[in-house]
Amino acid sequence: MKFIPKLLCICGALFSLSSHAALDIVITEGVDSARKVAVVPFKWLGTGPRPESITNVIASDLRFSGRFSPTAVFSMPQSPSTAQEIDYSAWLPTQIEAIVVGTIKPYTQGRYIVGFELIDVLRAQMTGGQAQMLNGGQLVVSNDHILDSRETVITAQEFRQYGHRISDIVYEKLTGDRGAFRTKIAYVLVDRSNPKYKYRLMIADFDGHNETEILRSKEPLMSPSWSPDGTKLAYASFENKRQQIFVQDIYTQRREKVSSYKGINSAPKWSPDGQSLALVLSKDGNPDVYTLHLATKRLVRITKNRAIDTEPSWSADGKYLLFTSERGGKPQIYQVNLQSRRITRVTFEGEMNLGGSYIPKNDQIVVVNRTRGKYHIAKQALKSGSMQVLTKTRLDESPSVAPNGSMVIYGTTHRGKQVLGLVSIDGRFKARLPVSEGEVKAPAWSPFIF
């Protein structure tokens, strides 16, 4: 009897080891008004079993952006693999505006040629795919309904990554904005049942695949922040039984302790020029925002207030910081001009607003809003002050915006467990990234890596 629980523990451990990626996306809310597109399963032109599906990656990427609604394979009127094979009249009633078709051919051992075409269905329906243009005094078929077409040799391991690459091309062609599907996320995995290393710092593709551990610790890890070149992470660690800030190169594993003042050393955020960290120290009495120049170690105090000031976050031009302050009684978001040091209050709606960050390119910010005791992710226009709550989940925290501003990843609670949630910036598409072992928190979206 006595050894049965032990045996179960071992089985449990084996099971969790064998289970693949800890993140596995569950879609909680779709979009009704997103643009309809079709990603037709690419035609396999080889013999033997077909390689991993590339089209599933493209369709789910486009769905996550909240701007597209990929059609289910069974609702497609035909399965073309090239633009020539498309019968546009058959696609007319589907209201699909763009189609991705492609082929996969075996190349040398373990390598494949993947070709794809992105077709503007509306344009093709207008011209019948026969639009002509003048070229050297001759009228030729312009094929202007084909928005992009490429052929590339990839290895079996590169299927997911190349799928994200195609998603980036499709997204940019159809929206005019850069896609963020080849970005990564960093997050903290907490496994309270682990007798030794309860806390792990992880990185993964933005959709949770290719999860990799970069640090494990017996003591809490917090607040990962990416360097703008995507090669380093700054984070807070309690490994020495007090809070300190470290910088770690994710490729060379080189670590450096950069802040270890008396009191808290919290909330590091890398500046857009990569030279400094904004951080929070309480060495002078209570938590205030500072900047630390990494090469010279020069420390500059940005806020000086008797209340809590924390959670600094840089504007894209590096001229402003958003931060959370209690100076008005309850925590709200403020903005400081780093040159003039002028501080203005930004949020007024709800009982509290915390964890603010700018949405790239936009005059908007994302915050954690508390209204009637509920914590949700919200966005607010900086100038007009109008706020829109984006999530419906429980105890939402730590929002991090994709570098193209299209999506927000955040920490939330589902069935008593901390998990990551994903929401499109318009709030219309929502997904949950549950974990099989432990709890996931403190997500940080990487900058553009490619």
């Binding site: 007090r242 909330a267 924390t310 959370t324 915390l354 964890g355 928190k441």
Partner: protein
């Protein structure tokens, strides 16, 4: 015979009570009770225990053992006010620290899971510092007290319920 058993258990129990109490109260009452109990016994011979005089180090260890059982101060939501409920608890810790100048205490500040992790680090520090100031107000030397904030990173109760949250909003005195 039954009376004998009771008497024997008292002989064992009373010195234990005396040991536990010697840190704060006089043991004179317990001693006299013990003498009376043994005299009432019908046996021909009875041995009587002598309470061993404890060394200062042993006394300190025993007091510390008691203090470790009562070492958590709980807080209301988003506040760092030390409630009067914990006055006697903090009194006994302050007394111990005053009497043992070489002893040091680490005050850990914690928060519940609501709000953001970084804000909760600040809130946890405020709670730890509130306890630190309280102890200093009772005459404890500032150099004996260290503080650390773990924010929401080390919850006592993971249930995510109101009662769980109230367990997690705490300061812990660690020796």
């Amino acid at each position: 015979m039954r009376l004998n058993k009771v008497a024997k258990s008292l002989v064992v129990a009373i010195p234990m009570f005396a040991l536990a109490a010697c840190g704060s109260t006089s043991t004179a009452d317990a001693d006299s009770q013990q003498t009376n109990q043994v005299a009432d016994n019908n046996d021909t011979v009875v041995t009587a225990p002598v309470v061993k005089e404890l060394t200062p180090a042993e006394k300190q260890r025993l007091v510390l053992q008691e203090l470790r059982k009562e070492h958590i101060i709980y807080f209301d939501f988003d506040t760092a006010n030390v409630s009067s409920t914990f006055a006697s608890l903090l009194d006994s810790h302050a007394e111990y620290l005053r009497n043992n100048a070489g002893a040091n205490v680490l005050v850990e500040g914690h928060a519940d899971e609501r709000g953001t992790p970084e804000y909760n680090i600040a809130l946890g520090e405020r709670r730890a510092k509130a306890v630190e100031r309280y102890l200093e107000g009772l005459g404890v030397n500032a150099s004996q007290i260290e503080t650390v904030s773990y924010g929401e990173e080390k919850p006592l109760d993971n249930s995510g319920t109101e009662s769980g949250f109230s367990q997690n909003r705490r300061a812990v005195l660690v020796y």
